[in-house]
């Protein structure tokens, strides 16, 4: 629980942070905010708190895991799809075809086995549901490889899987035809700000980056365990011989957009952008009813999206705490401005979010543009999407 104290005589806000990150603290200092003076652990003398994930509310929604845990995200998307009348969602322009076929372990193990045998040449990717930075991820070609997580030999008559650790896993069809640039695989990191779930208000950031692998991509089975070929996480790639501190394997989204438009044409580029927007909106819509909305909460998500060689974007996962570590000067600039723009949206002129009305007409603040604002006439949603696409471009 938290309290907001508004000081009548001194409007200078006090801040507290669980992270010693320069991009956060520099922003707070630049705004003239004072560090909360009380003892760290039990300090309640703050207005602004950059917090860790659990039970900390200001820059998170209480149950964001519905969106940001891989298993919950899959579950919610499947539920949302089932609930929609096909006609309605086609009319609305929604499309669910961005999630690779996924099974949640241990519950859906037997379903997975059926599908596994139906697609003999399919590679699968196995991920712990709630971990990050590429930890525990591996590619699967043979069911026996699941011994890694079950601790016991896998037999053909097994209908359930007992996992060594108590965590869930998600197992998805591996997208083995990613879009390659310069022969290397990459995924996209995009930033999305949600200031409200009911009604849904979504802002999208114009800067982001592609995270590149350091090795040339190959589907050669011999390289299936080579993480430097397949996993784009910086936490993994930084250990490659070819890793460079100067660019950190990060390729700006502006450069990527320019490449796609120049090499594939404007139409293909525009479709890709529209599809990415669809992923963001559909995924957020799918958790709209389950997320505990609170007007004192906002959340910045890091969307991980993979493009295949048909320029079709696939949703990999959504992060509630996207990394704020800065690996290069360009990276630092991006994240510094990102946090600055977030506070310009959620606390404009240090005003607390009671005055939603004032903000409704503004479509662009800093690098953020409104992607979707449900409080506007729902019937105009499709037009709004088209308009915000133009703004974003």
């Amino acid at each position: 629980m938290f309290e907001l104290k508004i000081f009548m005589y001194n409007k200078k806000l006090k801040w507290k942070s669980d992270f010693e990150k320069s991009v956060i603290i520099e922003n707070f200092l630049n705004r003239g905010w004072i560090k909360s003076q009380e003892k760290e652990d039990d300090s309640t003398d703050w207005n602004v708190y950059w917090a860790t994930v659990w039970n900390q509310i200001i820059n998170h929604f209480p149950n964001h895991y519905e969106l940001t845990r891989k298993d919950c995200m899959v579950k919610n998307l499947k539920r949302f799809k089932r609930e929609q009348d096909r006609e309605t969602y086609e009319q609305q322009g929604w499309n669910f075809d961005f999630l690779p076929t996924t099974y949640i372990f241990p519950g859906e193990y037997s379903l997975f086995v059926e599908e596994f045998h139906r697609s003999p040449n399919q590679t699968w990717i196995v991920k712990p549901a709630a971990r990050s930075q590429g930890q525990g991820i591996f590619l699967l070609r043979q069911i026996q490889q699941l011994k890694k997580i079950s601790g016991t030999t896998i037999t053909s008559n097994m209908t359930q899987l007992n996992l060594v650790s108590k965590e869930n896993y998600v197992v998805s069809k591996y997208i083995d035809n990613p879009l390659l640039i310069g022969g290397k695989k990459f995924d996209l990191r995009m930033y999305v700000l949600v200031t409200n779930y009911k009604p849904l208000k979504v802002w999208i950031y114009n800067k982001g980056f592609g995270r590149f692998c350091n090795e040339q991509y190959t589907t050669d089975v011999a390289e299936i365990e080579n993480m430097f070929v397949h996993l784009t996480n910086v936490a993994i790639q930084q250990y490659s011989d070819k890793y460079s501190k100067k660019h950190g394997g990060k390729y700006s989204i502006d450069a990527l957009k320019f490449y796609v438009e120049s090499a594939y044409g404007t139409e293909a580029f525009q479709k890709m952008i529209d599809d990415i927007h669809n992923i963001i909106l559909t995924s957020l819509k799918s958790v709209q009813v389950v997320i505990q909305n609170d007007k004192h909460c906002f959340e910045m998500y890091g969307y991980d999206i993979l493009l295949d060689n048909n320029l079709k974007p696939w949703l990999i996962e959504i992060n509630a705490s996207p990394s704020l570590t800065t690996t290069t000067p360009v990276d630092k600039n991006l994240k510094l401005n990102l946090i600055n723009d977030i506070y310009n949206i959620v606390l404009p002129n240090d005003d607390f979010p009671d005055n939603e009305q004032k903000q409704q007409q503004i479509n662009k603040i800093g690098g953020f543009s409104v992607l979707y604002d449900e409080s506007l006439d729902l019937m105009n949603r499709k037009t709004q999407k088209r308009q915000s696409v133009k703004i974003w471009k």
């Binding site: 640039i181 590149f212 460079s244 660019h247 390729y251 450069a255 320019f258 090499a263 404007t266």
Partner: protein, 466 residues
């Protein structure tokens, strides 16, 4: 020069789609008429601009029939002998570099910073030596200005002419979607290089740039041939050359660039093919090196007829944005180099040569910004030394790729490198106030080391500011 006779011209006309469009238009114009005289057709053609279109089409055919000739001899004899001296110097550098690489192998040291045959500083330093070497007779008709770095008697366009030519860029506004769509259709339907040049001068939409370039170079129906040629060259790369090592080292800088690191392998492949490409010697517009084949040296000139130089990777890098197909990137790079970039490394009095461009820049800065010109000289950092890197490498590394490709559009649009003069002048004007406060070369370097973003339109604006 091969002259086509009327019959041949007609044959070529008949293979052009535009010819048949014109013919259809004339037929429609005369509908049911039975007797049509030559005068009638002429009158009709003049009235609806068909005559103009035909003239353009025929001149296009005549232009294309001319075999491209490589400029070997310069009109100024002094520059011919200088070219030989330059080549000799480069052969010496090559020996030094080769020795260094041998030593490195033994010592296993990691510094490969000086492993190139020449860079832009070496080139400028060589051009500077002309002042001392010229006969006094050459200075007779030239007002000798000792404050300029390069001041030799070569025929130079007036700098006002260049400034006037590009002034239209100041008036360019952001185009509406409707206008952009119109340009897109134009590019799809157009074949004539004059018309494509006009489009390139005004605005090229990102999605159609590759098509425009391919059409302008007449590659648009030649993909199979381009692919075959490239595959042949790739096979030849299996035989290692010493120059490959230098190209790999050159690629290190581009591999650190946030805009180009993803293309590192493609750039190297293109360059390795380039130095093995026999067709370059006959396609290049100007001969770069002129050396007597030496008996004792271990290496000869590559088959292209010139040495690879430092930062050659920069000429390939921006083109990697235009296509997913490496043989297309290669074909574009080869054409750009043979038509335009070669002049940036040519000891020549041609308008596009590095010498002329440098002299134009000095002329404009010394007359329009004399304070800056003088100040830079006093602190030991001449104007040309400051911008030689941006000039020789077309601002690659200084501007983002979309802006670089806008420069390339202008180069095609005017069939000239003069846009670089405008941009260099703009660049110097942009940083003028900071430069005037600099006390020495180190200060100047600090100014340019800060995070900066130079944009095409911005530099053009600055070029015309007083």
């Amino acid at each position: 020069m091969q002259q086509l006779d009327n019959q041949e011209i007609l044959m070529k006309l008949k293979s052009s789609k535009q010819f048949w469009d014109i013919k259809k238009k004339i037929k429609q114009g005369f509908n049911d008429q039975q007797k049509i005289g030559v005068n009638d057709i002429q009158k009709f053609a003049q009235s609806c601009e068909i005559e103009d279109q035909l003239i353009k089409l025929i001149s296009h055919i005549l232009k294309k029939s001319k075999k491209r000739e490589t400029l070997k001899e310069d009109q100024i004899e002094f520059l011919n002998t200088s070219k030989i001296k330059w080549t000799e110097l480069l052969f010496k550098n090559l020996d030094i570099v080769h020795q260094k690489t041998k030593n490195q192998e033994e010592d296993d040291t990691n510094t490969d910073s000086k492993l190139y045959i020449y860079d832009e500083k070496n080139l400028l330093a060589f051009l500077q030596t002309f002042k001392q070497q010229q006969h006094s007779a050459l200075y007779q008709n030239v007002q000798f200005q000792s404050n300029k770095l390069l001041n030799i008697n070569i025929p130079l366009k007036s700098s006002q002419q260049i400034l006037d030519k590009y002034q239209y860029l100041l008036l360019q506004e952001e185009l509406q979607d409707e206008k952009i769509n119109k340009i897109r259709k134009q590019i799809e339907n157009e074949h004539l290089d004059i018309e494509l040049e006009k489009i390139a001068q005004t605005f090229v939409p990102n999605g159609e740039r590759c098509l425009l370039y391919l059409k302008y170079f007449e590659f648009d129906h030649q993909e199979t041939i381009l692919q075959q040629n490239f595959t042949k060259l790739q096979k030849e790369c299996l035989n290692q050359l010493f120059y490959d090592e230098l190209l790999e080292i050159d690629g290190h800088e581009i591999s650190e660039d946030t805009f180009y690191f993803v293309f590192q392998e493609q750039i190297l492949t293109c360059l390795k093919c380039f130095i093995r490409d026999k067709t370059i010697k006959e396609n290049i517009r100007i001969q770069l090196q002129n050396g007597i084949k030496k008996e004792q040296t271990e290496f000869q000139l590559p088959i292209t007829g010139f040495f690879p130089f430092k930062n050659i990777s920069k000429y390939v890098a921006p083109l990697c944005y235009l296509s997913t197909k490496i043989h297309i990137i290669y074909a574009l790079f080869k054409e750009f180099f043979c038509r335009y970039f070669c002049f940036l490394h040519a000891i020549s009095s041609e308008n596009n040569s590095i010498l002329s461009l440098c002299m134009q820049i000095e002329e404009i800065i010394s007359t329009h910004s004399p304070k800056l010109f003088h100040h830079l000289k006093v602190i030991g950092c001449d104007t040309l030394k400051l911008i030689i890197h941006q000039l020789v490498y077309c601002f690659v590394g200084d501007m983002d790729p979309p802006h670089i490709l806008t420069i390339y559009d202008q180069i095609i649009g005017h069939d000239s490198l003069e846009i670089l003069v405008i941009l260099c002048v703009g660049f110097l004007n942009k940083y003028k106030s900071k430069l005037l406060l600099a006390k020495n070369y180190e200060n100047v370097q600090q100014i340019f080391q800060e995070l900066r973003e130079d944009k095409f339109q911005e530099l053009v604006q600055f070029a015309y500011k007083q």
